[in-house]
């Protein structure tokens, strides 16, 4: 969620029971502003909090002029001092996908993982690397996975300029109530995967400036999002069931929207059994 709309947004997202303590809220305002100054970000998003067993990671993302470019991610253990996380690589994501269990809360903690493939293990040892992963890398990989899988925006909130860069749509006035209840009005804010597979008829209806992303309609498994109206219908809240803890809110007919993650950072692989 936007750093500037933090207080109101946290109120709207708190339906899940997890939020920030007043201490953290008070310090986030100023520390995110300082982040913007130090790293020269155009926008700073408070991404959320990953709960470890002994501590929690608070994550912020910084965006440059092209909002769809890879974002810089920072983490903090106390919301006061922030450290930049290394950019994510595919290898990190693959390795972190094998880890199970909770985060520890200590960024230098090393996981030892056993390779299923004996060949890979030998290869690693030859390279001189030991088969351990640092928790920092796991954090980066998890954030990337979550953003890729369930980071969403309402339709029309961002426009793609003819030059290819993406920026906020200043004419976006919010979704109407009926539109806000449909999953097709929300897009994944990441590289589209399914867009090319649409039939020509569907593509004809698309508006290339706003419909350049995948919508949530065809997410697998179906039903992995819950859409609820809270506060007597004033806010539309979407919660992801694949990554439990990701909450997206939008106040219909206004420009307020955002998503935040408060959870343990584990994918819910039991989802097909639970639906």
């Amino acid at each position: 969620m936007e750093a500037s709309s933090l207080p109101a947004a946290l109120e709207l997202v708190s339906g899940g029971g997890l939020g920030l303590s007043p201490e953290k809220r008070a310090v986030l305002w100023s520390s995110l502003l300082l982040l913007q100054r130090d790293y020269r970000f155009e926008r700073v998003w408070f991404w959320g909090c990953i709960q470890g067993v002994h501590g929690a990671y608070y994550i912020a993302e910084g965006l440059g002029p092209d909002r769809a470019a890879p974002r810089s991610r920072l983490y903090s253990l106390n919301c006061v001092e922030w450290s930049l996380l290394p950019p994510v690589t595919n290898e990190m994501v693959l390795q972190a996908g094998q880890l199970k269990g909770r985060f520890q809360g200590d960024p230098s903690f090393e996981y030892e993982y056993t390779e299923r493939n004996a060949e890979d293990a030998e290869r690693l040892i030859e390279d001189g690397k030991e088969p351990t992963i640092k928790e920092e890398a796991r954090v980066v990989a998890t954030i990337e996975q979550i953003d890729r899988a369930v980071g969403i925006i309402p339709r029309g909130a961002f426009v793609k300029t003819p030059l290819g860069s993406v920026s906020e749509n200043r004419n976006f006035e919010g979704l109407s109530l009926t539109e806000a209840k449909k999953l097709s009005s929300y897009f994944h804010f990441t590289e589209p995967v399914n867009l090319k597979n649409k039939t020509l008829l569907e593509k004809a209806d698309l508006d290339p400036s706003t419909d350049f992303l995948d919508s949530l309609e065809h997410d697998i498994p179906q039903g992995s999002w819950t859409v609820q109206l809270e506060k007597g219908g004033a806010v539309v809240v979407l919660r992801s069931l694949l990554w439990l803890g990701l909450t997206f809110y939008h106040v219909p007919m206004t420009k307020q929207y955002g998503y935040v993650y408060f959870g343990t950072g584990e994918k819910n692989l039991d989802l097909p059994f639970m639906l």
């Binding site: 109120e11 709207l12 708190s14 339906g15 899940g16 029971g17 997890l18 939020g19 920030l20 303590s21 007043p22 201490e23 953290k24 709960q51 067993v53 002994h54 106390n78 199970k100 269990g101 909770r102 200043r170 004419n171 109407s176 109530l177 009926t178 039903g223 819950t226 609820q228 109206l229 506060k231 007597g232 219908g233 004033a234 919660r239 069931l241 439990l244 343990t264 692989l269 039991d270 059994f273 639970m274 639906l275």
Partner: protein, 549 residues
């Protein structure tokens, strides 16, 4: 300056007829004519939409000049599009708006109703309310949890506060507590934990069930007697395992009564008491709640009940696993002759300790033995107090001295009494999962330790929290209602197919004997018979001739 030459920078910029020097052309009439032609063209209405460009441009420019947006040139196409849309929406607006407003307005009405005081109450009611009331101070609890970042927004907490007040005014409750919130797919559940005054519970439904069961048994006995006379296919020897009776209301897993509602403002619904079979099944399945209490729970093993029962079973499991209090707050009631009255499962009642000395926050956070469970844990059987299912009921136990009827079941010998950890065991005895401790403890703030609150999060049931600060403590649950397991959930496999018949030597297949074996067998038999012939009389030979086919 004059007409530019090709090598000068201004070349090509001037169009004939529009250069700044054309006003020196001595023909103003043709220019005004040109302007009028241009204006007439702009005023031409479009055949498809009925707009004309002149008005459209005029409106657009008016809007831009009124609002003065930054970088207007970048968004001018959007402004134009919006203006066109605005033309059409006016006609359809009234119809559409009326439909859209309804659902949110209804919900707002319900919430507003919470805030209104019911009619017909005089000053007498006020005095009663100020006295001791079972209403918990939800806002105070919410404040402490908020220090740790847990909890709903203040608005929602206040709505829940008022909804609980409404519940208390309707039901005769002794104690009431906001248990927590469970999220669901379509709607969420807000749950209140309530204890009735003694003797005020409604036992009508229980009596009805017992009467029905007894009626069925009588019918079955009669049918069996009649059927024995007729030819019947073999009766199945399958005896289903004995049904373990649920615990009495007010004890064990049914100690508290739970009310749920989807949103504050909606009516509270009472959840039915939980049976051991439901708890045992709930341990094996993992399903999301939909938010509708009558929704069926489709699962394997099939859950005996609908979502209301599943919800109640999960609430029972969560309470048993995560309701904790600081050590010393509760103590066992000391009565004379306690040892004789001890039931098999240990003590199940406690009372508040009037001499409770709270530990400091640092001590509460550092060691888990400063906290104890104050709800009985549920055994494997699904009850808090173990019950031998083969002993039919208490009445029959008394009769056992006279009639000793014990069915010679193999199962009976394997059933041993299940013992769980006794009430008020400290948390340090809780097992962790793999290398994660069962609870994570933190103070709410490191910057102001004097006023910090000790907060505990459960790792076994993610979403269960407890706080303690001085003499105040409370538990709460915000989550999806499932236990944490690092391994993926594997559903139970269906049991192997039941054997149709016992396999013995008379039924097992063997290879048919070969011709040589048959001849050898025949020869051997003939020798035996010949030997018998010599001993017997001539009757044996006739039988042999008949048998040789």
């Amino acid at each position: 300056h004059g007409p530019y030459q090709p090598h000068e920078p201004g070349y090509g910029l001037y169009q004939p007829g529009y250069s700044p020097y054309d006003d020196q052309i001595p023909d103003p009439k043709s220019q005004t004519l040109a302007i009028q032609n241009a204006k007439a063209y702009l005023l031409k209405s479009s055949t498809t939409s009925g707009l004309n460009l002149y008005d459209h441009l005029a409106n657009m420019l008016t809007k831009i000049l009124d609002e003065q947006p930054t970088n207007a040139v970048d968004i001018i196409e959007n402004i134009s599009k919006d203006m066109k849309w605005a033309q059409f929406q006016k006609k359809m607006d009234t119809l559409r708006d009326e439909h859209e407003i309804l659902p949110t307005f209804e919900a707002a009405e319900k919430r507003k109703a919470l805030f209104l005081k019911p009619n017909g109450e005089g000053e007498e009611e006020l005095e009663e309310e100020i006295g001791e009331t079972p209403l918990p101070n939800v806002m105070e609890t919410a404040f402490y949890f908020e220090q740790a970042g847990i909890g709903l927004s203040k608005d929602e907490s206040y709505h829940i506060f008022l909804a609980l007040k409404k519940l208390i005014s309707v039901q005769p409750v002794q104690t009431c507590r906001f248990w927590g919130k469970i999220l669901g797919l379509e709607m969420n559940y807000i749950i209140a934990e309530v204890q009735y005054h003694e003797g005020e519970e409604e036992d009508e439904t229980e009596e009805e069930e017992i009467i029905e069961e007894r009626g069925k048994e009588v019918d079955e006995v009669e049918d069996e007697e009649e059927k024995e006379k007729e030819y019947e296919p073999p009766v199945s020897t399958y005896k289903p395992p004995p049904v373990i009776p649920k615990e009495e209301n007010g004890t064990g897993a049914n100690k508290y009564v739970y009310f749920v509602c989807n949103e504050p403002g909606k009516p509270w619904v009472k959840l039915p008491p939980v049976t051991p079979a439901q708890i045992v099944c709930a341990r094996k399945i993992k399903k999301f709640f939909t938010g509708r209490l009558d929704a069926p729970v489709v699962s394997f093993p099939p859950f005996p009940g609908n979502e209301a029962n599943y919800l109640r079973a999960q609430i029972a499991r969560i309470s048993a696993g995560t309701q904790i209090s600081p050590i010393g707050f509760y103590q066992f009631a000391e009565e004379e002759g306690d040892e004789e009255e001890e039931t098999e499962g240990g003590r199940d009642t406690y009372e508040e300790n009037p001499d409770f000395q709270p530990l400091s926050v640092a001590e509460m956070v550092d060691s888990l033995s400063a906290w104890v469970h104050n709800v009985q844990s549920i055994l494997k059987q699904g009850r808090c107090v173990w019950l031998n299912p083969l002993q039919k009921s208490e009445e029959e136990e008394e009769n056992e001295e006279d009639e000793k009827e014990e069915e010679p079941d193999d199962l009976q010998q394997e059933l041993q009494q299940e013992i769980g950890p006794p009430l008020l065991t400290p948390l340090s005895e809780d097992e962790g999962i793999q290398n994660i401790p069962a609870w994570s403890a933190q103070p709410s703030t490191n910057l102001i330790p004097q006023y910090a609150v000790a907060v505990l999060q459960s790792n076994r049931w993610p979403g269960a929290y407890a706080f303690a600060s001085g003499k105040k403590f409370d538990n709460i649950y915000f989550g999806w209602g499932h236990k944490y397991s690092p391994e993926n959930h594997t559903p139970t496999l269906p049991p192997p197919a039941q054997g149709e018949y016992p396999s013995g030597p008379e039924v097992t297949e063997t290879r048919d004997p070969t011709v040589a074996e048959e001849l050898a067998f025949k020869a051997a038999r003939e020798e035996a018979l010949a030997a018998a012939e010599e001993e017997e009389e001539e009757e044996g030979t006739e039988e042999d001739e008949e048998d040789d086919d």
